[in-house]
């Protein structure tokens, strides 16, 4: 273990212990029991704020531990390089906070006084900007404008009070292009002193982000402007994303943030409509909330949605830009669709025997072809689903709504009631409904 890692681990362990002490009085308010998956209700055992407001869950992530010192919550963020796994088979040389990207979620309550130390173990200066948080100008973290940059090896102290509740973000305001492209982003959740609206049982944060990592490379390209090929929720690309496990009937809140370089993300949830209840500007009064099935999360913004998970199932949740649910897709290859692959193969294999024609019938089966690909790349691969390959990647995750969430460790699949799954139509069905599959498209009225 490197000295730096050791120091960091020590810090986290020490403050973790204090955290447990500090939280003991509010813990167990809802009497939950320990369970396995991080996103399963077991992680939701803590109450974070008055009125039974549950603490947030960061799938594939963690929450920043506090020390309570004379009425001030004290935290420590260490900016440093790290190796991050986006999905099984793809690791990246990234930068982040406390050994991870996304950085730990900062969770506080309206009115909390916080003191956050930021140590720079990067090879270049940095700063920390508290995106959306109202604070004294000198704490805003814009290097050169409101403070000096934090030199490598230096530690800066930020101290302010969270005067407004809401969902915010943090990121550097020095060489943002590089530092954010490499993963230096995090979420901030400030609970209100008194809860807004109906009681929420499950509170998730999902930070959307985009990266460019050439297939076989491991360093995200900070210069990328258009051809991003790794799209993430909390810095994980499907099948690396941890599912959101909730119990049937629970009210679910999902706080979405976007610190992508260049793209807004229309995040679509299957199976439900939801209300947009807040932006990073604050809580939207009930009269102003509107129902949606897709919420556009613009760059540099947060959107909070709420719904009641009353229909069990495995519900997809993803960005609706089709290229944002692909992994390391190449964008500059000839279109093969509809071409006579045999003609091409015969000629090409004469000179490149390893050649296999691909894509002439579409790309749906690419994840299953199993051809050798560059090490440390996950082009096209999907996840394994109960009915075959889920040929999705990138900004894709699954909301798993269970009758008994405690029985779900995140790897299980919904048990469908008899007759409720679409299947190949039987001859009897076809005859009964006068459906003739041999009719050509276009002949029908």
């Amino acid at each position: 273990m490197k000295r730096r890692d050791f120091m960091m681990a020590g810090t986290v362990a020490a403050s973790g212990a204090l955290l447990l002490q500090g939280m003991s009085e509010v813990a167990h308010a809802r009497g939950a029991e320990p369970r396995r998956a991080a996103t399963s209700p077991s992680a939701q055992t803590k109450v974070a704020a008055p009125g039974g407001q549950v603490s947030v869950t960061t799938p594939n992530g963690t929450t920043l531990p506090w020390q309570y010192l004379k009425g001030v919550k004290v935290g420590h963020l260490i900016a440093a390089p790290l190796q991050h796994e986006f999905a099984p088979g793809l690791k990246g040389e990234c930068w982040g906070y406390n050994g991870r990207t996304i950085g730990p979620t900062i969770e506080a309550v309206e009115g909390d006084r916080v003191r956050i130390y930021v140590t720079n173990h990067l090879p270049e200066p940095t700063s920390l900007h508290w995106h959306g948080v109202l604070l004294p100008n000198g704490m805003d973290g814009v290097a050169g404008l409101t403070q000096k940059a934090i030199a490598p090896g230096d530690t800066f102290k930020y101290e302010f009070t969270f005067t407004r509740p809401g969902t915010f973000m943090y990121h550097p305001h020095y060489d943002e292009m590089t530092q954010m492209a490499l993963g230096m982003v995090g979420m901030i959740v400030v609970h209100p002193r008194a809860p807004h609206g109906p009681h929420v049982d499950r509170d998730f944060v999902l930070m959307t982000h985009e990266w460019k990592i050439r297939a076989g490379a491991s360093r995200p390209d900070p210069g990328a402007m258009l051809d991003f090929n790794v799209l993430t929720f909390n810095s994980k690309a499907y099948p690396g994303t941890e599912p959101l496990v909730v119990e049937r009937g629970e009210r679910v809140r999902i706080r979405l943030g976007n610190l992508s370089a260049m793209d807004h993300h229309p995040i679509h949830l299957h199976g439900y409509y939801f209300n947009v209840t807040a932006t990073d500007g604050g809580y939207i009064p009930p009269a102003g909330q509107w129902p949606e099935t897709t919420v556009l999360v613009p760059v540099g913004s947060t959107r909070t949605i709420e719904f009641v998970a009353d229909v069990p199932g495995d519900w997809a949740m993803h960005c609706h830009m089709t290229h944002h649910v692909m992994n390391q897709m190449g964008h500059d290859v000839p279109v093969m669709l509809g071409a006579d692959a045999k003609r091409i193969s015969r000629r090409v294999r004469a000179v490149v025997p390893a050649y296999m024609a691909m894509g002439e019938n579409g790309m749906g089966e690419m994840g299953d072809m199993g051809m050798p690909i560059p090490p440390n790349s996950i082009p096209m691969v999907g996840g394994k689903g109960p009915f075959g390959t889920i040929d999705m990647g990138g900004m894709f995750t699954i909301l798993k709504v269970r009758d008994d969430a405690r029985s779900e460790d995140g790897t299980g699949w919904h048990r469908h009631p008899e007759g409720s799954v679409a299947t190949s139509a039987s001859a009897t069905d076809l005859a009964a409904d006068s459906i003739d599959p041999s009719r050509k498209a276009g002949e029908q009225g």
Binding site: M329, M336, A339, D340, R347
Partner: protein, 490 residues
């Protein structure tokens, strides 16, 4: 000398030598011819040994003669098998008529030696004076003699002839080596050109694949006329390049055909070998210059010519001081009485003592001596140049084999992975394959250069002439051979 003597007696002397010769000399000349043919066989054997000591091929045991069917059969048998470097050299030694013509110069030198060593013919004179009114006896005047000067100088003349035979042997041996060298390089060129053609045909197949892909994609509506036209143009250009490579191979085969002395259906020979890999070690580098000087047949020839020339100077000097003398007997029958007595006949070396001949031959000797030094300088340079070129080609070929070819192979492998990952398209994959083929072609050209320069080095060290040194023509060296060896040093 003889001529002058005869001229003086013209009018008085009736010559009968022609009559005598046909009857007396015919059997003699047969004997002489047998001796001469034995000597030329000895010359041929000497050349055979000189070459065998220098190179790894041998002249046939018997000197070739025109129209020998057994030789033709040997050649035909060799031509039926795929040619190897050794069999090509054997065929050329059997069948190359330039070499046979060169071997003929052994006979020329030998003939000159024989001619110079011949005994002077005896001189003979007879006159009959019929009876006159005053005297009624028939008078006889008979004389016989021999050219003494010619006899005395005979040894010196054959000394010149012997030195010239020695020179001819060295010259002919050099011609044998040179033929072997040319066959070797021509053979390597055929191998290189045929391997190059194969590579270009494979490259053509890669272009054809690109063109076919573009046509297929165009038919599916997936690509533009521009892309199709671009692929087609590249394919058609590759066809032209293959055609050029075919012509190059035919040229190289023709060069070898000439050296092999074959024509018609005999030119349908095939080759089975590929260009050999580069040996790990260069030939022994020690004392290159002195070894080349010691072995040089051109220097050996020039030394023999110098010997001959110094003997010519001696001959000119001696013949200048010696009076032209014939000695013999003379018998006269005058008025019925025979009178016999010794006779001597000659000129006095008072004015013409061959002074001009001496000066000329002395100047020729000096000229040859300078020529000798000049040749030695050239031989030393040739061996250094051949060594440098061989070392450079070896380094480049090793770099190709150990670094560049594996690097190109890796590019293709990685391109395949990237293709599988759909990061690049089939056209880029084909381009990676063609780049690999280009590198392979560069390697072949470098191998060709190595074996050519290596043959030059072997040739100079064996004592032969290796033609000009220096880089190959731009035609031969194209294909991406690296020009700087220092860039490869690390």
């Amino acid at each position: 000398m003889e001529c002058r003597w005869v001229e003086k007696n013209t009018g008085r002397v009736m010559r009968i030598s022609r009559v005598v010769r046909t009857e007396l000399v015919a059997p003699l000349s047969l004997l002489l011819a047998a001796c001469v043919s034995q000597s030329t066989a000895r010359d041929y054997g000497a050349v055979r040994e000189m070459t065998a000591a220098r190179v790894d091929f041998r002249l046939p045991e018997q000197q070739m003669e025109v129209g020998r069917d057994d030789v033709d059969a040997d050649v035909r048998a060799l031509l039926k098998l795929p040619l190897t470097e050794q069999s090509a050299i054997r065929i050329a030694l059997l069948n190359n008529h330039d070499l046979r013509a060169e071997l003929g110069s052994l006979g020329i030198a030998r003939g000159q030696l024989v001619q110079g060593s011949l005994l002077p013919n005896p001189e003979f004179e007879a006159a009959v004076l019929p009876p006159t009114k005053t005297g009624n006896t028939t008078d006889w005047d008979l004389g016989a003699g021999i050219d003494l000067t010619s006899l005395i100088l005979r040894g010196q003349r054959s000394g010149i002839g012997e030195a010239e035979v020695e020179a001819a042997r060295a010259r002919v041996a050099a011609a044998v080596l040179e033929l072997g060298f040319h066959v070797r390089t021509a053979y390597y060129s055929v191998l290189a050109s045929s391997q190059r053609l194969e590579l270009m045909q494979t490259a053509l197949a890669a272009f054809a694949a690109g063109y076919e892909t573009a046509r297929t994609l165009r038919a599916a509506g997936n690509t533009t006329e521009l892309d199709l036209a671009t692929e087609r143009a590249a394919y058609e250009a590759a066809r032209v390049a293959v055609s050029e490579a075919e012509a190059d191979l035919l040229d190289d085969r023709e060069r070898l055909n000439v050296l092999l002395g074959v024509h018609g259906s005999e030119t349908a020979w095939t080759v089975a070998q590929r260009l050999p890999e580069i040996p790990a070690q260069l030939p022994d580098q020690a004392h290159l210059e002195s070894r080349a000087i010691d072995a040089s047949l051109e220097l050996a020839e020039t030394r023999a010519l110098l010997k001959a020339m110094s003997r010519r100077v001696g001959l000119a000097e001696n013949s200048g001081w010696l009076p032209d003398l014939s000695v013999g007997v003379r018998a006269q029958r005058d008025s019925g009485e025979w009178n016999v007595g010794p006779a001597v006949h000659g000129t006095l070396p008072i004015f013409n003592r061959q002074q001009g001949g001496v000066i000329t031959n002395q100047a020729r000797f000096d000229q040859l001596r300078d020529h000798y030094v000049a040749i030695a300088v050239e031989v030393r340079s040739a061996v250094r140049a051949a060594r440098n070129r061989t070392a450079s080609a070896q380094q480049r070929a090793q770099h190709y084999r150990d670094v560049l070819l594996p690097a190109r192979q890796e590019v293709l492998k990685q391109a395949t992975l990237q293709y599988n990952a759909m990061q690049i398209g089939v056209f880029q994959l084909l381009q990676a394959r063609r780049d690999q083929l280009d590198a392979a072609r560069g390697y072949i050209e470098t191998l060709r250069e190595y074996w050519r320069t290596r043959a030059q080095l072997d040739q100079v060290l064996a004592g032969g002439l290796a033609g000009s040194v220096g880089p190959m023509s731009s035609e031969q060296s194209r294909g991406g051979a690296l020009s700087s060896t220092s860039a490869l040093a690390d």
